[in-house]
Point group: C2
Chain length 331, copies 2
């Protein structure tokens, strides 16, 4: 039980979270909110939790943790071709929580919610009895029947990915081994770029409408490109990937040049939060142009093939690699 100097649960909600409440949330003074999709639309629902020590470091800034908790959910919404409408928050706090931490958390949450037009609609605050856990359930919206599913790729479709791959996994490695030899050639700005990619997912919301119009299947890359691609294809489909086509940032290219073995980290590490999707070849140009309108790079990296094996990555050295257990699991 919180000590006498602590703010009450109701006080905490009124001070830190009520200012973030959206329409239908009644200022968080009720146990429930209302939400109604626009006529001719479905709601799209997703839930992802982040836990201290597992999905983030205990000393990460609380505003960054809030951004990450929202970002991983926004990324799922975007990958389904949906527009965010709001979220509920389950905040489980450790016994030693402080108001300063909470103020920082609420500040980051509010900023991310405002930037993405995704207000807080409700939630629950409990003691965790352990480390902090931030659970988010997010609601998005698509035209009726328009959700882009994960398991609907067709043989012959082109495989595309937004942005760059591997940055967050390299940022995490740098965080764990700041003196790693491969990082010697990275100046502070490049190191900061990788660290930021780990800490702050950039959900690809601007690509969602194009994904909905063109993609035959889609998911976000959260557990590593190789493994998530295998998950997306499922049984009866495989893929031929051009390893050299996988889009890498400048710092990732430099790191890889210094240490070629990092290709495993890049292709199987987690936390990319890019959109992986498939599109019919004849729609690729239009798709790429529409994604570019949102300022987001899109790269075709391979083709869906028939078969049950894991995706094959054709590498520069002529070898074809597979990453059979190539998916990172936070569990």
């Amino acid at each position: 039980m919180a000590g006498p100097s602590r703010i009450s649960e109701d006080g905490l909600i009124a001070r830190y979270f009520a200012p973030l409440a959206g329409p239908g949330a009644d200022g968080l003074r009720d146990d429930a909110a209302t939400l109604t999709p626009a006529p001719g639309h479905d709601l799209v629902l997703t839930a992802d939790a982040v836990v201290v020590g597992i999905h983030y470091f205990p000393d990460d800034p609380p505003a960054s943790i809030a951004r990450k908790a929202l970002g991983v959910n926004l990324s799922d919404i975007a990958a389904k071709g949906a527009i965010p409408r709001g979220f509920l928050l389950t905040l489980a706090l450790p016994d030693d929580w402080t108001e300063a931490w909470l103020a920082g958390f609420a500040g980051g949450l509010g900023a991310a919610a405002a930037e993405t037009g995704c207000p807080l609609l409700g939630g629950d605050t409990v003691r965790s009895g352990g480390p902090a856990l931030i659970g988010v359930t997010m609601m998005g919206e698509v035209p009726t029947g328009g959700i882009v599913r994960r398991h609907t790729a067709r043989v012959g479709d082109r495989i595309c990915v937004t942005g760059t791959i591997g940055d967050a996994a390299l940022g995490l490695r740098l965080r764990l081994e700041p003196e790693a030899p491969w990082s010697a050639g990275l100046d502070p700005a490049l190191r900061a770029f990788l660290a930021d990619r780990y800490l702050h997912p950039r959900p690809r919301l601007a690509a969602a409408p194009a994904v909905r119009r063109h993609a035959s299947a889609a998911m976000d890359v959260s557990d590593g490109l190789a493994g998530d691609l295998a998950k997306m294809l499922g049984a009866g489909r495989s893929a031929r990937i051009d390893g050299a086509a996988v889009p890498l940032s400048q710092p990732a290219r430099r790191a890889l040049a210094a240490e070629p073995g990092l290709i495993d980290t890049i292709l199987t590490g987690g936390d990319d939060y890019e959109i992986l999707c498939t599109v019919a070849p004849e729609q690729l140009d239009a798709f790429r142009a529409e994604v570019a309108e949102g300022g987001i790079p899109l790269t075709a990296i391979g083709t869906v093939t028939a078969g049950d094996g894991p995706p094959r990555f054709a590498m520069d050295d002529g070898a074809a690699r597979v990453f059979a257990a190539g998916s990172f699991s936070h569990f």
Copy 2:
């Protein structure tokens, strides 16, 4: 990280949770589900989490924990006048979780979901780094604009409550002090009744349509009648409650006869999960009749008054008691 003998997260979902998936959940094979309210309806959203050692005991049966996690959310949905449509589950497991626990949990979850027509739509499974936490976000449905809010009672309205009050709090006390002198006169069946009321909320779903048609304000009683009543009334309203009218079960009446001081436990203890609501006097008879059609007892216990003080309970001895800090907090 789970050891090699453990089932993977995907395997766990496929084995235990996919069988509970509802329409729109795509067999839990995707990161998101769709849900669309019926034409002319709003969705009602609520989230409540339960934590081992705080909201339940570590040795409670996992099926009971699952029922409680769903029940506390169903209770919120019912108190808003809504019908449940589905839920998302955030399951944070301790490092020593077992498949036997999980199988029991999923069994209880599936049974409660089937009984209430409220399927699983998605969720997330993570390691908690501490005790287990079960977070549920639930979606219900009401005719457009029909949600019954918490802060909308009118002076002169009658205050009503379903079922009986205090049983769960007495059940919890019995659990903590099985030899409590006041319990000496309770036979095993009465003790089991109280224990069950603590362990298994009975969400008052059958009363929801009548609440929606007649109540001017409503909430569920989860943190104690006295405190929740004060919360419902808010600023500018108070209440005159007939203490003798507060509905008590037979075991609660016996316990109270043995130990009159238990009235505080009964009126301020948590976990009743009954519906507390207000209704215009001229609608009371119709409201009571409609609630009775669902097999649920309803009792009028007092009247909304003007003023800012806490609700006043007129007791048998002629005293008027207030319970200023009368709300139990799990936080």
